[in-house]
């Protein structure tokens, strides 16, 4: 209870309102009463079950594999998603876990029975009704299915059969005898012999504080999964009692010195031999082999092998084991020893190789080095443009995306999309000297001409961080539009143009409107926000050397027509935007009638202003645009043609696209050297740079960035995801609608009816493996179905992926990671508002005291760790276009970054889900809530 008391002292106001809120006390507190024959050995039954090992199993290679194919980058034992089912209280704050609680105990009593601080007293527990009133829960089959629902990731790796909940419940049944008597796990210790000199047993838990995690070979977890850790609990079995009887002994084996001498040697030595940190239930713990640890457990001692030995650390040998494992010698001994081996450096497990995946590049101001951000290997490759070789690689943060130099070339700034940081590189030493906290998912980064400000585009939080480029202090955030992507500085240094991939949030079923943000680079303020009607996915940007206009890559996605119009070639088109200084906005396509120009990722302009080079990530080409011809065409067009014809005319590109240059696989960023002789293209999916000779407009060289030669199935799938070959006339790739594996913010009419039936909001692909079924109508039970024939029929209008490609594609899709939640890092305390919101999310009664039906509580359908029950529900959101009223329950992880909401995207904000679209309380009982309660609920939702 100490932790709780501390919180009460520190934050009385915050906690006062939650005084009745229970905290997790841990299985061992339950074991203080629920042990022994008088209680049917309930604690031992749990300890002997897989539940008690649920946390430890996350150390297994299989768990890592599951995490990997689920897009979970962190260690499974540190992943909120994994811990959600492999431990108790994963969602709880630190203060909600008493000092007696240990996450290492996995799925404990309180996972099913609720946090126990308020009911776990003998007086209350003897009265079931009182206990229930105090928070004791009695689990149902549904409780089990919250975690034991089929998970594609687990099936894929473990080939585990569908969970039979009845069998499962039978397996963990722990009935108390008719006239139960409470007995403690410490009862054997209390019976121990007299005083003992010398070192004491501290317990394996103390060892586990250091000997854990991948850096230590998960030693503690390895022990927890071994039979040794269950040696004491196994004494509760009938078999143990029979064995005891055969020796002419009776009673409880867990208190028999004869049994304990091998099944819990420390306990056998008596109460005086153990320190309070020792728990008798640990069986054959670390100290059973290595000797009691009180004198050597200190880190300073353990780091000195001789000192540790002198302090009592033993190295077990065959004789050590033979004390209990009699008649085990030779090969048998080696076999058993191998079984419990726990080396600090275990044999490496096969893992997905680190591809480089270069995405953007920048040339040092003196032109001598090319910095290439490698999002796959969390590094920046340094390339010598003269020798065309990689000369160094600088580790940076997670998923680096963009890089920019200061004008003096002494520093480089790298945006790390996954970590929400910016790495500051000292160019001379090629080391990261500082890491800046940015907003959510930083993408583009740029330093102004004076070297005064560093701008960072926060794609997730939809704002622009402005740092002092010299002091590295954060100055302010500027408001962006939706998912700012890249930025370019005008030749005179006065303006910065910012592109955005998502269109502005607008009225339901309206054409997209994309925004460019113009920053006054002298004041670091927003000057203007020109819009591109009908456009979305504005990505690359470049200014013409004259400064008269900027070019932007864009898509023109017609969401008001059904996807069937793809066959006519104009559902998703790709092109360029021209933003003139005078405020004029023009759009042209780069698609041609028989072949599209999908995924126009970036654009660069030659120093003489004559050509623009545009990368097509979906067809592995660079288009060379003659800018004189392009601007002449625009000038000669009528205002009506500029507004309606040019933006949609696939016949026009032949007038200004003079050449296509093949590149490596999936070209992204492109850069033209200031000398005008070469351009460099980052080929994301073959780990290379294509060098373009601008004189001949040919690909003259390939620079290998040193990625793995092997193409894994996942990498193959990634290539398919970004390749437009599967779509009719190569109009788009999977990545078109799912940039960064996320959303494009649009609502599509993707069915074949062609009359606007069932428009649905695009959903993220991040971390979705275990959230089946897919599709808002829930008709696709697997990704294979989602991405297979259905994709062909409704989206791509070509032959479906062959089985091996489909399998690879699905594998890749599942590995797309979900970025860490920026509103609540794992283990962080809630803010007061978030804490209040959690109470509302889990509430069972409305403000007026009436009980909320179970089916109408937030937590019922949105249960952790994905916050979805993966079932269809009617929440009253059916519109006249919809075929059905029931829709798939979406998962809520990182829900803050995927507006708009509801099945058809009609709610622009989380608030609108309840203030506008829940008039009858069908989507949870919410209309009784005050505005501040709704605000709190939303603050909590953003932490999921």
């Amino acid at each position: 209870m100490t932790a709780r008391i501390v919180v009460l002292l520190v934050a009385p106001a915050a906690v006062a309102a939650l005084a009745a809120d229970p905290v997790y006390i841990g299985a061992r507190v339950c074991g203080n009463c629920h042990a022994g024959p008088g209680m049917g050995y309930q604690f031992s039954l749990w300890l002997h079950s897989k539940h008690s090992q649920a946390w430890a199993t996350l150390a297994k290679p299989e768990s890592k594999k599951i995490a990997q194919i689920s897009g979970i980058r962190e260690d499974p034992q540190e992943s909120f998603t994994c811990l959600g089912c492999h431990s108790s209280g994963a969602q709880a704050e630190a203060w909600q876990k008493d000092d007696t609680f240990r996450v290492e105990d996995g799925v404990q009593c309180e996972s099913c029975h609720g946090p126990g601080s308020e009911y776990a007293t003998e007086a209350i527990m003897k009265d079931r009704a009182a206990a229930m009133k105090a928070g004791l829960q009695m689990p149902t089959e549904q409780t089990c299915m919250t975690c034991h629902i089929v998970k594609g990731s687990h099936v894929a790796v473990l080939a585990s059969p569908q969970f039979d909940v009845k069998k499962g419940l039978a397996a963990i049944a722990h009935p108390a005898p008719p006239n139960p008597t409470m007995e403690s796990i410490r009862r054997a210790v209390a019976d121990g012999a007299g005083a003992k000199e010398g070192p004491k047993y501290v317990g394996s838990e103390a060892c586990g504080k250091c000997h854990r995690g991948p850096q230590n070979g998960y030693q503690y977890s390895v022990w927890r999964m071994s039979g040794h850790a269950r040696a004491w609990s196994t004494l509760s079995s009938e078999k143990s009692r029979e064995a005891l009887a055969r020796r002419g002994l009776t009673g409880d084996p867990q208190t028999q010195p004869y049994c304990l001498s091998c099944h819990s040697p420390a306990v056998a030595e008596g109460a005086a031999a153990v320190l309070p940190s020792f728990s008798p239930d640990e069986g054959v713990g670390c100290e059973s082999c290595h000797g009691p640890g009180s004198d050597y457990m200190a880190e300073a001692v353990m780091r000195d092998p001789r000192a540790a030995r002198a302090a009592g650390l033993k190295t077990p040998d065959e004789q050590t084991c033979a004390r209990c494992h009699k008649n085990v010698h030779g090969a048998e001994y080696e076999l058993r020893r191998e079984k419990i081996a726990h080396p600090k450096r275990p044999a490496p497990v096969a893992r997905e190789p680190d591809y480089k995946t270069p995405v953007n590049l920048a040339l040092r101001p003196d032109g001598k080095e090319l910095y290439v951000t490698c999002s796959g290997s969390d590094s920046v490759a340094v390339v010598d443009p003269l020798t065309r070789r990689k000369v160094a690689e600088i580790p940076v943060g997670g998923q680096p995306d963009d890089v920019a130099f200061t004008p003096d070339g002494r520093r480089a700034f790298v945006s790390n999309m996954f970590d929400d940081t910016v790495s500051v590189i000292d160019v001379a030493t090629r080391t990261v000297t500082k890491t800046l906290e940015a907003g959510d998912e930083p993408h583009g980064v740029l330093v102004d001409k004076q070297g005064k400000y560093c701008y960072v585009l926060n794609t997730g939080s939809e704002d622009i961080s402005v740092f002092d480029a010299a002091s590295l202090e954060w100055i302010k955030n500027l408001s962006a539009s939706r998912r700012p992507w890249s930025l370019a500085l005008s030749p005179d240094g006065s303006r910065i143009v910012v592109t955005h991939t998502l269109p502005r949030l607008g009225p339901f079923r309206a054409p997209p409107v994309a925004e460019t943000t113009i920053i006054d680079a002298t004041r670091a303020t927003v000057e203007d926000r020109p819009i591109f009607p009908g456009a979305n996915l504005l990505m690359g940007a470049a200014w013409h050397p004259s400064g008269e206009y900027a070019l932007l890559t864009l898509n023109r996605t017609k969401t008001l027509v059904p996807m069937t119009r793809l066959a006519q070639g104009w559902t998703i088109t790709n092109g360029l935007g021209i933003l003139s200084l005078d405020g004029e906005v023009d759009q042209v396509l780069l698609d041609e009638p028989d072949i599209g120009f999908p995924n126009p990722n970036d654009v660069a302009i030659t120093p003489d202003g004559r050509y623009a080079l545009v990368t097509s990530g979906g067809t592995n080409r660079v288009a060379v645009v003659d800018l004189n011809r392009l601007t002449a065409m625009i000038r000669q067009a009528s205002p009506e043609d500029r507004r309606r014809t040019l933006p949609n005319h696939t016949g026009k590109p032949t007038e200004f696209v003079v050449k296509h240059i093949p590149t490596g696989i999936n070209p992204r960023g492109i850069l033209v050297a200031p000398d005008g002789r070469h351009a460099y293209v980052a080929n994301a999916l073959d780990d290379s740079i294509t060098v373009i000779d601008l004189a001949g407009m040919t690909a003259s060289a390939r620079i290998d960035l040193g990625g793995p030669a092997e193409i894994t199935k996942t990498r193959f799938g990634e290539r398919l995801f970004h390749d437009a070959k599967v779509t009719h006339h190569r109009q788009f790739s999977c990545a078109t609608c799912h940039p960064d594996g996320h959303v494009d913010g649009l609502t599509y009419d993707i069915e074949a009816d062609g009359i606007g039936i069932s428009p649905v909001d695009n959903r993220t692909l991040r971390g979705i493996l275990d959230t089946a079924p897919f599709k808002w109508e829930g008709t696709n039970p697997s990704l294979s179905r989602q991405c297979g024939m259905r994709l062909s029929v409704f989206f791509t209008r070509l032959e479906p992926f062959p089985p091996e490609e489909l399998s690879a594609l699905d594998l890749y899709v599942t590995t797309i990671p979900r970025p860490p939640n920026r509103f609540r890092p794992l283990g962080a305390d809630f803010t007061p508002a978030q804490r209040r919101g959690k109470v509302i999310f889990e509430r069972t009664r409305a403000n007026d005291g009436r009980e909320i039906p179970v089916g109408n509580r937030c937590i019922t359908c949105h249960n952790p760790p994905y916050y979805t029950d993966r079932m269809l529900h009617d929440v009253g959101t059916r519109e006249k276009q919809d075929r059905q009223a029931k829709f798939d329950t979406p998962h809520l992880n990182n829900i803050y970054d995927s507006a708009p909401y509801l099945h058809n995207g009609m709610a622009n904000t989380l608030e609108e889900i309840w203030t506008v679209y829940n008039p009858n309380d069908l989507h949870g009982v919410t209309n009784d809530m005050t505005k501040d309660q709704l605000n709190d609920l939303i603050e909590y939702l953003k932490t999921l």
Binding site: S461, S479, I938
Partner: protein, 377 residues
């Protein structure tokens, strides 16, 4: 004007004139008017905010911006993207240049780079759409609404609501909000002034010990009345306006001003803004009252004669008229709603147009000068 004063003011008026060389306040004698004829979207001016060369004007039907460099006026109505037509409050984020608008019945809007972002009680955490006041505090935007105060953090995007649940608001009808020196001040209808200390997160209330009584039983014992309409904290001095008198607090002593014993044109004040610890301007229903020197209780009251349409500046000290200056062009109207300072200039929003007082030769406090009237101006 010279001749007019010379010929129309009788001898009595001349007797009121102070002797030459008396300490007198600065008087704004040059005024310019802006109305719909000049390009404002509406003549009912509810808010005005000076931002360098830009003067932002909130009206009953639209937003306007006067560019002092070019003299041009741009305006935005609902058809131009303004989310709601009635603009009752304006503040500018000094870091980003974004303009925040309080919309009477329409919530809150951010005007940034030509884009309006609309925040209202259905699509955001704003507590209520009837917004009377808005203030930028660091990265936070505060809105005074009819159902409490809202705070929006532009970095974390978190909304916080302040009502009777978490602030000492006996009423939740917030009329005004301002920010200075790590403190946010709320003028609350019926709850006086609430001070929120950013460093401690604690509230402090300033009340009228006489409660809601419209008479002041004990003078200078607190704010004039708990129905407050404006609050301004400058030079560690708190200035307050209410429907029943004005107040000033120096951290130790209160001083209350009434029409009966000061130059305040009326006790019914719609708004106020302080320029310093010594000078504050009150928008009343009968004119604009500026206390120009606190120590001597010297005021200048600006008004407009509805019949002659001429302006008047009345200089008083302890209710004694020092100067009565007739102005061919004075303030646009005597019903004052908003005021802001722009260097030496002053801008006032009235029920009939915007006034721009040109502060040529402005000086703070008092200065020995000849009477303007005596000078024959």
């Amino acid at each position: 004007m010279i001749r007019r004063i010379a010929f129309t003011l009788p001898l009595l008026a001349a007797l009121l004139l102070p002797a030459r060389g008396e300490d007198l306040p600065y008087v704004y004698t040059k005024w310019k008017h802006f109305t719909t004829e000049d390009g404002l979207p509406n003549d009912h001016i509810f808010a005005v905010r000076a931002d360098g060369p830009r003067i932002w004007v909130g009206t009953e039907d639209g937003l306007a911006m006067i560019d002092k460099r070019t003299g041009k006026i741009r305006s935005w109505r609902e058809k131009d993207g303004l989310p709601w037509k009635v603009v009752t409050a304006i503040d500018v984020d000094p870091k980003t240049g974004d303009v925040w608008l309080g919309l009477f019945g329409g919530g809150l809007a951010r005007f940034s780079g030509g884009r309006f972002d609309h925040y209202h009680q259905l699509n955001s955490g704003l507590v209520n759409d009837v917004v009377y006041g808005v203030a930028v505090e660091n990265d936070n935007i505060w809105a005074a609404t009819t159902a409490g105060a809202s705070r929006y953090n532009t970095v974390t995007k978190e909304w916080t609501i302040f009502t009777e649940k978490n602030a000492p608001m006996e009423e939740i009808w917030n009329y005004a909000v301002s920010y200075a020196d790590d403190k946010v001040y709320l003028g609350v209808w019926g709850s006086g002034v609430l001070e929120y200390d950013l460093k401690t997160g604690k509230w402090k209330e300033y009340l009228d010990p006489d409660g809601e009584m419209e008479i002041d039983l004990y003078r200078d014992d607190g704010i004039a009345h708990v129905i407050t309409t404006g609050v301004s904290y400058v030079d560690k001095i708190l200035w307050v306006s209410s429907y029943f008198g004005a107040s000033r607090y120096d951290g130790r002593n209160w001083r209350v001003f009434y029409n009966q014993d000061s130059g305040l044109p009326s006790d019914f004040e719609n708004n106020m803004k302080a320029r310093s610890g010594n000078e504050a301007w009150y928008c009343t229903d009968k004119g604009l009252g500026a206390i120009m020197d606190f120590k001597t209780n010297t005021w200048v009251a600006y008004s407009r004669d509805p019949k002659t349409l001429r302006g008047k500046a009345l200089v008083t000290r302890d209710k004694t008229v020092l100067e009565e200056i007739d102005l061919e062009t004075g303030v646009p109207h005597s019903f004052m709603i908003a005021v802001d300072f722009d260097g030496n200039d002053v801008w006032v929003g009235t029920a009939k147009g915007l006034g721009h007082g040109i502060g040529e030769g402005y000086y703070p406090g008092l200065r020995t000068r000849p009477s303007i009237v005596a000078q024959g101006r």
